[in-house]
Symmetry: C2
């Protein structure tokens, strides 16, 4: 049995992680939950038992067998020296080390073998990148990938509990005439094309990319091990509660038929094809919410040779974060990897 700690247990990903650990029957021996001073003192339920949430203590956290990091990048950087001195294996859901060349960035179905190179510390990619790579990797493998242009439709739960509450308050204001919270860009009935703030490295010659757009492009290239992949994302928040969607345009190096592309996607372990639009079967974030598959559909061959368009949707808290983190821990402990629960 494995002595498990969850850092950031009270956040959306932390809570989802507890659910997935339980559902996947991860061999949790002792379970210790950490959060910020503000959230410490709460209790969370795991396998029918109540677990107190403790204020984070880096040295104590480093003494567990497996540590899941689900707080912010700042917290990861703060506990990192202690973790490096300790013996814990780390499944890191934060962005702090994702682009560190010494740290593997892993989507288990895509590059799970890289876990063993992590000297104990493995990063879970950004949720939008995780979902995207499930669809891009089989295309890259079968046909070679030249470019990928991605427009996202991202759920408000990805922005945290307060933004979800803001959406609810704005909708009630619009529907019931309650007082609306003031905000420069409402979430209700809107599409907000700027996620994650201004990226640290702004190059005036290229314009301002958002933090999310930089992550999606850089992490996708690292996961697919293709630094020359021509890609860009425009990341947009939409009034969806849960599950991110992405409209993807790809150019492949070879020029397969539509059915060959469909077969490659169909064979990908966690892709679920939803592609009979004439029967109203296509991916939507509501249908993908709570599930563990990446729904892919609306597949079309475009006029430019080797170019295709498709649409995908996946639960960014489960498959895009918590389940991937648990799968990485399973690989770290040579356990069978859980592909699908829900």
């Amino acid at each position: 049995m494995i002595d498990v700690a969850v850092v950031g247990a009270t956040g959306a990903v932390g809570k989802e992680l507890l659910t997935v650990l339980e559902q996947a029957r991860f061999p949790v021996g002792r379970l210790t939950l950490y959060a910020s001073e503000r959230s410490a003192g709460a209790t969370l339920c795991f396998r029918g038992g109540e677990h107190a949430v403790l204020p984070l203590d880096a040295a104590a956290a480093a003494a567990h067998d497996e540590v899941f990091l689900c707080a912010g990048a700042g917290v990861t950087r703060a506990v990192l020296p202690a973790l490096r001195r300790g013996r814990a294996r780390v499944s890191d859901n934060t962005s702090a080390l994702r682009l560190d060349p010494r740290v593997p960035l892993v989507v288990p179905e895509v590059n799970g073998a890289r876990v063993q190179e992590g000297r104990g510390h493995v990063c879970v990619p950004n949720c939008t990148a995780v979902l995207l790579c499930h669809a891009l990797a089989p295309l890259q493998r079968a046909f070679g990938l030249k470019s990928a242009w991605v427009a996202s439709y991202q759920a408000v739960s990805g922005a945290g509990r307060r933004e979800l509450e803001r959406l609810g308050a704005e909708l009630r204001a619009d529907l019931l005439g309650e007082a609306a919270p003031a905000a420069p860009h409402p979430l209700a009935f809107n599409a907000v094309p700027f996620i994650g703030g201004v990226a640290a490295a702004v190059d005036a010659a290229c314009g301002v990319f958002s933090g999310e757009e930089i992550k999606v492009a850089a992490e996708t290239r690292k996961i697919l091990e293709q630094p020359d992949l021509e890609m860009a994302a425009t990341c947009v928040r939409v009034p969806v509660l849960r599950a991110h969607s992405e409209a993807v345009f790809v150019e492949l190096k070879s020029r397969p038929a539509l059915e060959e592309v469909r077969a490659a996607l169909h064979a990908a372990p966690s892709v679920e094809l939803r592609d009979e639009p004439e029967k109203l079967v296509f991916p939507t974030p509501r249908a993908a919410s709570g599930g563990d598959g990446i729904h892919v559909g609306r597949l079309r061959r475009l006029e430019r040779p080797g170019s295709f368009a498709f649409f995908l949707a996946g639960d960014q808290l489960r498959k895009g974060a918590a389940l991937t983190a648990v799968q990485i821990a399973q690989l770290q402990w040579d356990l069978p990897v859980t592909l699908r629960i829900a």
Copy 2:
């Protein structure tokens, strides 16, 4: 003064058209409103007066000076023989004749001169294509256009009054626990990537494009007079009330600097740049609602030479339909063209 008829006066575009005719001080002499048998008998307000809505009579409609067609494509086809026998000039907001090579498809700021070739019948393009062409045309003119990949975020008002009511009912069901209407794909908290049904011409080798996707691509090529433009759209309905948005990726034939692209967009007559993301200034559908400009922002230069990404938002009922229809009528009568009211 011009004797004006509006066919389909009680729909969303018809009502918006009456507002724009009034705001633009179009020299309406007599005004006659037509609608289906079901809507006939209603009254609508114009310049403070009440106007009865009459059941459509094709011969009578053809006897006016200017006829605005705002009902469905089927209604346009039904009244067309009478219109062709009559002397009315037609500003046609429906899809029936948009791709007919004898009929001009006009975005006034882009190809307004084509109106004179229409022998009286001129088509207003699909609203998503109108908004897109305002941004693409200046880039095509200055740099040449090689490809355009577009993912849309389309407002529910574009699907009609019943879909707006369905969104409201679904939101109340989710927020207040009222009974939810049954639907295969809810609009509330969702992104529905299939607009306009299955396109008539399905090529199994290319997959199923939606009617909207076919329109956007074919009409954009016709407006820009570039049949070889490599382009595709993925059209997605989102829970926005009004104004469509589009994430656009373009490849230009030359390789301008970011500031040259920005200058070309800035100089376009109906484009309003909203591009200071570091100050939270970017296009959103809520901010574009009710206005007459196409908000463009999030402009970025991509790694592929000559490639750029941007995001746009515009009111699809005003600029995407009613205002464009009125501008076309102004050109048909050699009147000054109204660029901006709201």
